[in-house]
Symmetry: C2
Subunit: 585 residues, 2 copies
Amino acid sequence: MRLSKGTLVTRRETPSEADTRGTEMLLRAGFIRQLGSGLYTTLPLMTRVLHKLEALIRRELDGAAQEVSFPQLQPAALWRQSGRWDAYTQVEQIMFAVTDRGGRELALAPTHEEVAVAVARELVGSYRDLPLSVYQIGRKFRDELRPRAGLLRTREFVMKDGYSFHATPEDLARTFEVMGDAYARILTRLGAEWRAAQADSGLIGGAESREYLLLSDVGEDTLLYTADGLYVANAERAVSRAHPAPASPFSCFERRHTPGTSTVASACAALGCEASQMIKNVLYEAEFLEGGQPSTRPVLVSLRGDHSVNPVKLWNAVSARIDGTLTALEVADTEQWAGDLPLGYLAPDLPDGTERPFLRLCDGAAAHAQHFATGANETGFHVVGANWGQQYPLPEVADLRQVEAGERSIHDPAQPLLAARGIEVGHIFQLGTRYTAAMNLSYTAADGTPQTPTMGCYGLGVTRLAAALAEQLADERGLVWPAVIAPYEVILTVVDLQDTAQVEAAEGLYAELRAAGVDALLDDRPSRAGVKFADADLTGIPWRVTLGRTVGLGRAEVRERRGGETWEPGLGKITGFLRARLGQR
Amino acid sequence: MRLSKGTLVTRRETPSEADTRGTEMLLRAGFIRQLGSGLYTTLPLMTRVLHKLEALIRRELDGAAQEVSFPQLQPAALWRQSGRWDAYTQVEQIMFAVTDRGGRELALAPTHEEVAVAVARELVGSYRDLPLSVYQIGRKFRDELRPRAGLLRTREFVMKDGYSFHATPEDLARTFEVMGDAYARILTRLGAEWRAAQADSGLIGGAESREYLLLSDVGEDTLLYTADGLYVANAERAVSRAHPAPASPFSCFERRHTPGTSTVASACAALGCEASQMIKNVLYEAEFLEGGQPSTRPVLVSLRGDHSVNPVKLWNAVSARIDGTLTALEVADTEQWAGDLPLGYLAPDLPDGTERPFLRLCDGAAAHAQHFATGANETGFHVVGANWGQQYPLPEVADLRQVEAGERSIHDPAQPLLAARGIEVGHIFQLGTRYTAAMNLSYTAADGTPQTPTMGCYGLGVTRLAAALAEQLADERGLVWPAVIAPYEVILTVVDLQDTAQVEAAEGLYAELRAAGVDALLDDRPSRAGVKFADADLTGIPWRVTLGRTVGLGRAEVRERRGGETWEPGLGKITGFLRARLGQR
């Protein structure tokens, strides 16, 4: 392409809406423009990046799944069959819903599990039709509470989403790994610094899930990992060995007067113990829909004084123990308890009120506490030397605590957990039969019996992956693209358009590169050389060839954007030089 | 691809939802499945067709426009700026609108003129930035009143839509032709039987527009054209020379008693004249929004008794003459006129009621009538021998009548108009400044003055074009695809999987074809040969190679789907034979 014929609008100043470096550079380099909150137009350069990324994804999925395309408008009835309509429209409010001229509700696709099952119902009849593995690349819509960071969190984006159906969990597990391997190849070919992490399944559900993240300080996710590479998990579901609590200083169960010690720190100081030797009891209120009716239940969580509640783990634990759809889970608003609760001094056996009984849960690390201190259910009083099964019945035990960097890993206590920030770009799930059973997808097995297939789903954010790469690779001069998805592989910069020797050399090289299959961009704009150099850096095209006064001597500089190294292979050898370098992509 | 590894679900029976042959075959051949009213999943074979069609479109647009991608969710404010929010949400109700969690309204893109102008406001500053020409390929959403014919009229579909901005109308006209030429090349390369026709601009607006249609009996549009190829127009806006009315038998203006003659035919019989010698006066009621408030106005249309009103022309004529947005235009409901109107006997000078005065319009052909008969404004009475400007003031004249096949063309009275049915697949518009002025897009001209660019837009339905081709080419055995967009170019059918010679020959040829760049599908399913032959025909893959018992003799049959001709070039020459044939694509 000739820049004189195309549209490139770059900016020198930082746009006010740029909250990350990658966003700033994508805006300044003319790759994207914001249309509204969380809504972006991709301009020609970004459109090329996305097309190349989509092509890379298709190549790596070839043979593992067949490409289809589902509607983005989906009958609400499908979401009611799966039981997710309430969760998506009312709880998270993440789904846009429209009503058509006939008064029928339609979902605007945030994801496609329901549609995939509906289509599988049409295609799967017998065991011979399994496995079925399909994917699509298309738009998704999510009414995000807080769109941020340009293309990283938007209300409309491009995603690759795949769905597979299997006769056995083993076959599903195989495909799960095939998809994971494809993601690993894609991220490696992009030259990204990435990690695969154990993850929480969230609203999608299912037993096993794995996230693929690009490391970046602007990421919203925290990864906990070990240096030996054997453990990587999202902090939302990471596990560890808790630091052991020292032996308790309390040998007898006693009640102590501890006025003004409603915090763990002040109580420990008054009692002469460490936070790890105390059990704190935190009151939550769960709101949920039961048969469409809103309802509430109090939840009492016991955990060690030095630990904090992981809200995702607690959400999952409570969800699994109530009937209906959990819609909110917050630390209880004390106002409504009529002031008679000894907050800050609660014990694990706080009596049930006139409302529904407590759902009582105890974190796994707290379940091992011995001779511990805790509240006495009376303001200004604690007890010490308590034991589960003696003074207090042990509540249901669940992993509820937030793991912290520095704790020891489960697989090897010699490995401490390290922390890093990451951008989730992919997430793959072994869903089991959650959707297939709810939506009555069945097949006839070899023995003639009706069976329910097990299901997996596999998401890879296309827009987000491109934006995450921009974040990870951009420097202070602009974007830096890997050649495999760069909008162009090479930019030819003509220093002085008045110099016919330069123009002719550029035109000759441009034709030569194109004939050799190199995706070249010719900057033949009548701008100053400094502007062209700055634009070449800003747009992040991996290779720049500068055609200046030395072309008469058969010389031109070749410069790699990443790293800034320069070469002078001689004008006649530039095409071969670049083909060799690009061949390594 | 090997069919044993993929998913092909074909049906022998005709699905109940198939209302056209193309739809039937797309459903039976496993190309599409319906998810809901006007909502379709494209399965792997159809997804390949659409990708190839998109690639063809991109190739032909290369150099004429740069590809971008706009959001499908669009702030309602943009549609209010252009003045189309009411028309799209209330009048046609064609646009889905959603409200986000912040209570803001968003349109779900039925088209992108507003967004294109909003983006151009970011990119265009000076005359040096013009022309700007961009396009995208993506989904569109329209809440169709009556989805029909599979992919031909759906509520969600893929479209190529382009937008261009220019300093002068001449430059716009040039780009309009460049786009038209690209469409012509695309349709010709597809081997389609197509026509370009003058068209009504509809809701999009603008001065000049041209439709591209595939001829098909299932098309919703009627084309009127001349055999010399010099005139093609959609019946919605076609013009012609009306058949001349014979000289009137009435020389004097007289009132006649004509009881029981409220129809044209009965009145003519009673008066002893032809329908072309009579002026009928038809009462319509226009509903419109004026500053957001609903309002109405009666419209009285005078036209020759042998002519009928073209509703599109009348809509445009009324729209141009009222303030506000026309929302409905129907023959007046007589109930509300309190029974005192002499319906069937109206004259052009029917007195205004207590309501707003009539908007009086006269069709162009009727304006030439002399000594005509018409109603007398009294039930049971007509007048004859009337003339415009004598008994009746001539209302505003406009082209309002429906042109019929058999009438003479304007450009050459020797050419009668012929009629054909067509499926609109493309529509290009010279919009002028309607959107750019309303939305305050301006640029600084060379002389430093602010100017408003003129705009064009160019739509090509991707899903619809593929479906229209299926309609046009399908036969009683199934689909017939042109090689350029066929899901595969060649299908290799192994007659007997137990015969290792057949399997080996097929595998060898499959590898050879793929190495030669031919897109081959290997039918290695353990099905009966008859099933495989039927599926090969049904899916419409252009070339089939049958590997049967004669492979031992070095022979295999090559068969062209379209036409059914067969060849036996010898096993070793099949790849060369097919490459030569496919090279003609």
